[in-house]
Symmetry: C2
Subunit: 519 residues, 2 copies
């Protein structure tokens, strides 16, 4: 048998006893892989083949970690899929040791810059957008109406402004506004409007009778009343205000307010900013078995470069971190941060239990078709996008970043909810890895889409920005692809390259995380 007759399978550590089939059409029974093993059955692309005999009850090892136990004897060359794997218990949160010594920082990386919009508060935008936020879903139709009108009739007069975006959401009334959980959607709405890409200009459309007071949107972090702050009510337009007689007057009112802000935003100019001003939200959605060996490790490599350059990286998705949290806690810069990470896991365990669910509600059917057998395998691949830096802080859902470095921003794994919460945290760049393919995009922040496999990246050639599948086929290394992504981030952040979803106008809705009841 010549070497050329064998087909590529990928394992990431020496101890892995399963490998991932790379061939885009999958492999057939009888096909040969390394060590002279012959496939005992057809195995689709992305799925696992046993690289040795695995006895009943023995660990199935991927990424050097047990992803479960064989519930039957699995022979070398067999397909290892979810029907043959018992999902293990998640890491016991009480027994994970907190870090005692500080984790060493990575070597600094100097000299990388991008052209950003520097704001008065010191933050840096990568787009120059007028955001019009709202206190309640009731005004969503009105907000859409005026945004459309502003974009058509006024925006063309202000060429330095990239876009006008309505920040509509489903909250604000018909909710239990005072329960403890309500702090999450409230601070999310508050913090989104201070995203760096809105240039410090806040414009609010309120109704008047709603529970979420429009004035409170000028506060932060879930505060609903603060008598020490005089709200700049000049930023608020209330539809029920006696001053407006009829719809046209209301529309005129808000359009005038918008034009004042467009004039100010139009004076913003891009300037050279160090890469340390990047706040990159990393996310994956529609993952497959390649995600953990191609796109996510490449994103992790880029994350390390950003952190080395002094910038910030957010990683998220509690249910896709939960089963790998024992690997993350030791990376916390101190016991306090380690403990905060554990507490976010605990909070989510309780939240799911209250809803009669658990972490196994993830993965989705498409993840499984893509070769991910269970949440453990998914999580181990998911956390690869955090790279190797120390974790310097942990944010609750919807909280805003407080310091630079690698940060765990706790969010659900739901793509659109995670993105909404990362916006609130203050990301000015978004990187989204996908294996099955999702058309995800946001109008506020550029979203670079990275394909985990070349089959998808080829089929979705105009929706995917970067094909990390080249790692699986050996055309590129993780390091090369990580650098490529890092450089693409700087280019997109500078406005020199437009991402696919912006070219096509593919933008998702904001979707809030509201663990509290509606009324």
């Amino acid at each position: 048998m010549s070497e050329s007759d064998t087909h590529i399978v990928i394992k990431t550590t020496e101890t892995d006893n399963v490998g991932i089939i790379v061939h885009s059409g999958g492999l057939k029974k009888g096909d040969r892989i390394k060590n002279g093993i012959q496939l005992r059955e057809n195995i689709p692309m992305g799925h696992k083949v046993a690289l040795q005999n695995i006895g009943e009850g023995e660990k199935i090892i991927r990424y050097g970690q047990p992803i479960g136990f064989a519930n039957q004897l699995i022979s070398a060359g067999e397909w290892v899929n979810s029907s043959k794997i018992t999902t293990p218990e998640p890491p016991d949160l009480k027994s994970i040791p907190l870090p005692e010594t500080s984790v060493p920082e990575l070597n600094p990386l100097e000299g990388y810059t991008f052209l950003g919009f520097r704001n008065q508060d010191g933050s840096v935008g990568t787009k120059n957008v007028l955001g019009i936020t709202t206190s309640v879903q009731c005004v969503a139709g009105f907000t859409q109406f005026v945004v459309k009108k502003i974009k058509q009739e006024i925006l063309p007069k202000y060429p330095n402004v990239d876009d006008v975006v309505a920040l509509n959401h489903s909250h604000g009334c018909g909710v239990a506004i005072n329960v403890p959980a309500a702090v999450i959607p409230i601070r999310t709405i508050q913090n989104i409007s201070t995203n760096p890409n809105f240039g410090g200009e806040v414009l609010i459309i309120g109704l008047g009778c709603e529970k979420l007071r429009p004035e409170s949107l000028l506060l932060a972090n879930g505060t609903t009343a603060d008598t020490s702050v005089t709200p700049e009510i000049s930023n608020i337009m209330m539809m029920q205000d006696d001053a407006f007689s009829g719809f046209s007057a209301m529309a005129e009112g808000i359009i005038q307010m918008a034009e004042t802000r467009l004039k100010k935003l139009n004076r913003h100019k891009r300037e050279i900013c160090p890469a340390s001003e990047l706040v990159v939200g990393m996310q994956c959605g529609g993952s497959d078995a390649f995600s953990g060996i191609t796109s996510n490790p490449a994103a992790g490599f880029a994350a390390d470069l950003i952190v080395r350059a002094g910038g910030s990286v957010l990683f998220s998705e509690v249910t896709e971190v939960r089963d790998a949290v024992h690997l993350l806690v030791p990376r916390a810069i101190n016991a306090e941060v380690g403990n905060a990470l554990i507490n976010e896991m605990k909070w989510y365990d309780d939240y799911l239990m209250l809803g009669q669910a658990d972490r196994t509600a993830n993965p989705a059917p498409g993840n499984k078709t893509g070769g991910l057998s269970n949440i453990v395998e998914k999580a181990l691949g998911s956390v690869a996008k955090s790279g190797t830096s120390p974790i310097v802080d942990v944010l609750g859902p919807g909280e805003k970043i407080r310091r630079k470095g690698l940060i765990f921003a706790a969010t659900p794994a739901s793509d659109f909810i995670c993105g909404t919460l990362q916006l609130a945290a203050g990301m000015n760049m978004h990187v989204f890895m996908t294996g099955r393919g999702t058309p995800y995009g946001l109008p506020m922040v550029p979203v670079i889409k990275v394909g985990s496999n070349s089959k998808l990246s080829a089929r979705w050639f105009d929706i995917i920005d970067l094909d990390a599948g080249q790692i699986a086929t050996g055309e590129k290394t993780i390091e090369e692809m990580g650098w490529e992504l890092f450089k693409m981030i700087l280019e997109v952040a500078s406005g020199k390259k437009t991402v696919a979803c912006d070219k096509l106008g593919l933008h998702n809705d904001l979707v809030l995380f509201n663990p509290g009841p509606v009324t």
Copy 2:
């Protein structure tokens, strides 16, 4: 003192010991009202004045029902506001007697018709709309893109089709799809696409990897798998389908599918249909103290007319029914329906308790400014829109109607969630009462907006369709206004009159009720 010196205050039963101030500017200290009572302080429009001395601990009576207890001595002429009222316990669900004899039906009303679109399944539409539904939020951007393109480029060729509407929502993935509570959002999405205004044409955009299988949208009532049904996959476009290479191919694919359906819908013609084909969703939002004496009773009168004509009326909003449920259970046609009504209250009590809330999370600040002191007063006014007919059925949230008559469709009181669930129940007309003013609208079904007071109706002259405030000023009776609303419903349902929110293009988002956790 001449009669002309006294100002109008409204009480609805002889036993009421408070009255509602009608004068649009409110009344001043010293102003005289009936029985020689002088106001002891300024009282705003819509607020309550004590019509007699009310001792500490005594009942405050409005609508002939206690809305609470005086927490201090209240003298005749004093302002009776929430600070002086202790909210009572809600009706004890265990002690409400179930109906033993059947409730008498109202006299039939013959001869009223409208011009509707009759569908193959027997239902009747009031608009002729192509609805494009979706299995998951991931595809929302794509769906918006293609809907915009279809409306601009293809819809003009089909003049009998009123609109093309994207049915985007926040569900479908990143959720615990198998928990008991998940049945609610799932059946809501399923049942919305069978709304009579979509003419029986179902078109679905799916992604491919999502938890909510696109095929299951062709089933009903929360079913996620039914092997006895062969899904008409010709109605589904999957973005991840291997057949589509790139975005343009996907867009072309769905646009072709849409055109086939537009051709079919374009052949639909309005025909004379009896008023018994109406399914009217009644809702109120941004209520004030007038809502319960003007717009809601007028809507209740119209509801009786529709039921007498053999049609269906949905009323909803559990937290605004809860405190009046002892008045509704006796109107159930039998013990089973009465019990179902009680069970929906019980379910919501438990749901709120689990979220550390209770019914007092309602009313909203604007309701209070409008004179509604607590949820009891709000509920007693809210149920007026159910009229006086027997309650023939109770639907769980998102369920579809099963029979004609007056039906309680259990929903949250949140306007946008209630509307979404009434769409799923199958309403072909929507009537929305407001006192504070909300720009609420939906693109799928006409929404008639009724103002509860003339001050709002005048200020929002181009957003409100009907001013029920004329009842408070004595210009019209409830009966006259009820007939006016009934006739307007027939006119709008016939396509002869366009409602204000459709003229302006004011349309809210669909917002699902998802009591289960996100993942």
